[in-house]
Symmetry: C2
Amino acid sequence: METRGYKRPVLGIIGGGQLGRMLIQAAVDLDVEVHIVDPDEDAPCRYLAKTFSHGNYRDYDTVLNFGNGLANHNPVLTIEFEDINTQALEELEGRGVRVYPQPRVIKLIQDKGAQKQFYADNDIPTAPFHLIGNRAEALAYADKGPFFQKLRRGGYDGKGVMKMATAEDFNAAYDAPSILEELVPFEKELSVIVARNPQGEVKAFPAVEMYFNPIANLVEFLFSPAKITAEQEKRANEIAVQIATKLEIVGILAVEMFLTKEGEILVNEMAPRPHNSGHQTIEGNITSQYEQHLRAILGLPLGDTSLIKPTAMLNLLGEPGFEGEAVYEGMDELLKIEGVYPHLYGKRFTKPYRKMGHITVIADTVEELLAKTDKVKGVVKVRA
Amino acid sequence: METRGYKRPVLGIIGGGQLGRMLIQAAVDLDVEVHIVDPDEDAPCRYLAKTFSHGNYRDYDTVLNFGNGLANHNPVLTIEFEDINTQALEELEGRGVRVYPQPRVIKLIQDKGAQKQFYADNDIPTAPFHLIGNRAEALAYADKGPFFQKLRRGGYDGKGVMKMATAEDFNAAYDAPSILEELVPFEKELSVIVARNPQGEVKAFPAVEMYFNPIANLVEFLFSPAKITAEQEKRANEIAVQIATKLEIVGILAVEMFLTKEGEILVNEMAPRPHNSGHQTIEGNITSQYEQHLRAILGLPLGDTSLIKPTAMLNLLGEPGFEGEAVYEGMDELLKIEGVYPHLYGKRFTKPYRKMGHITVIADTVEELLAKTDKVKGVVKVRA
């Protein structure tokens, strides 16, 4: 990006949640001037940006006005949440504004059907699937299940996903454009975060191994390096690089994968932004996912993704049964443990399973790490 | 600090420069609500706090009003610069506001004479000195030199310090309360950062070895671990812990030291706040000096200060000959080097030797670190 030199870049972020917040922490070091638009007056980024526009990022005019307001300052626009108005972003891109990730990539990923089709078209391994338009079309597959029905649009964090096994399930299917995906018995869930800059440089982070909370269907706990073979690690990395390259994405991309019982790697889904499965890179890797995203979208060289030490991440979810102003119980006890990093997201109100923060744990070996993480689990409780 | 639990603390920082900026980066993770007062409308913290009060922190009313404005929210007040109005802070402390470091500590350190006297009174090794009230009193020592004359008040970063060897020097002495300090031939300059919380827990960071820019008299480059013997490391640590304990300071304290040719350690001076010699702890140590300061003043347990990897820090100073809007040349080249972290302070305007940022370098061994740091030096130039 340098012609004469590097000068305070202007960045507009669509969305002001915890991902934006951690992106700002990294942006400070690169003297990036940050502007935010978010519908929540009390968003985690509220007081960490040069301007905060209160508005709905699903609304065409809101996004367009936000971009236009910055357009004279040669901005880069990015997202921290993909369910936003891409039409406005396309309009801005057409007027010469740099929008990274590109609106066409966001649109592709917003539609789980198009996403699956992209994998199929590009020889990227994924679970077999059928695209259906409504419940009636689902019924045609009633004797071929079980499947997961996934809404093509709007689902996230396990919302918009339903298991379909019995005739009853099929009768209760979502009556909307969906995919029916075959159930793959898997050994582990993995994630690989990859970044690509406009110059075409592509770098992936080491794979992380993820465990989900069965009730909230959220990542509860993950660690890196994943306990997989060197060959599986290589394969996971290759797939992520292949996707980023084919998409010609600019920015960061999280690729969630299944490691099947047979040792095969299948892509589950992807997100074109910093991701829950990359939080631990702040402490664990030479370059964090946030810095890497900034480097990519600002056209800077990508950073070294190597692990410094084995690292785990625990999500800090609102305790079931509590709703109101957040109180973090057990912080003292937590902070007495060495090599443990709380990241609170600055959300004033907690509710059951709301992502309120995360805790990173580092250790010298994976065994030590897992033992320590077990000790850390449940020490802090978010109540009201 | 926990009675029922940890709840968003309110922090007022007197000063909004780079130290405040990096303190905020750490405060974000602890969901600290930050308020700033600074005379510079364009201060590095300008857009990173919930409120920014534009005012002179040397002014009694400004500081008092700032503190009073927060007083209903059970705040902690801290500083990122010691040349501020302590009278107002004492007034606020008297009204029950937590002010850390305590105003009496700030006052002691503001006065280099009182600081030296504190060392003398507490058997803390320091270079021999004489307190003088004016130039006439200096002249009485004209045949006993050479000395450094240091103004008791207002000096920093080498300002207010003069070498006094010849009769001419003595005739040109500062005509103000000063210390005359004997010149100590030293081998190295060291710094140890130490923190103490209200519970009385005290922890020091490993020593760093510092090199100064002879023209600007600013730290140009430093690294940790220092190349000193285990015994010297232990002694440096002991002295820092002894000072923090005697002062009963709450917060962080940087203790600058000389290692004499004879291997003795003498205290040079101290600063009761995050310090230039602790910037590299962000990447290099389990806990950073910023997080440690927050833990201390919020009454949380102190963090592990161990080094993760050998780490160096280079100050990024404005190039001589350039004044105006800052442009960073060589950022691309810098960011191609692995394990290198620029921290730009967000100052819009550069001038010769202005502290515009710093670069942290990490490596697996001290030898590798020093070689890499040599490579990094001069890659980035701050011009206008």
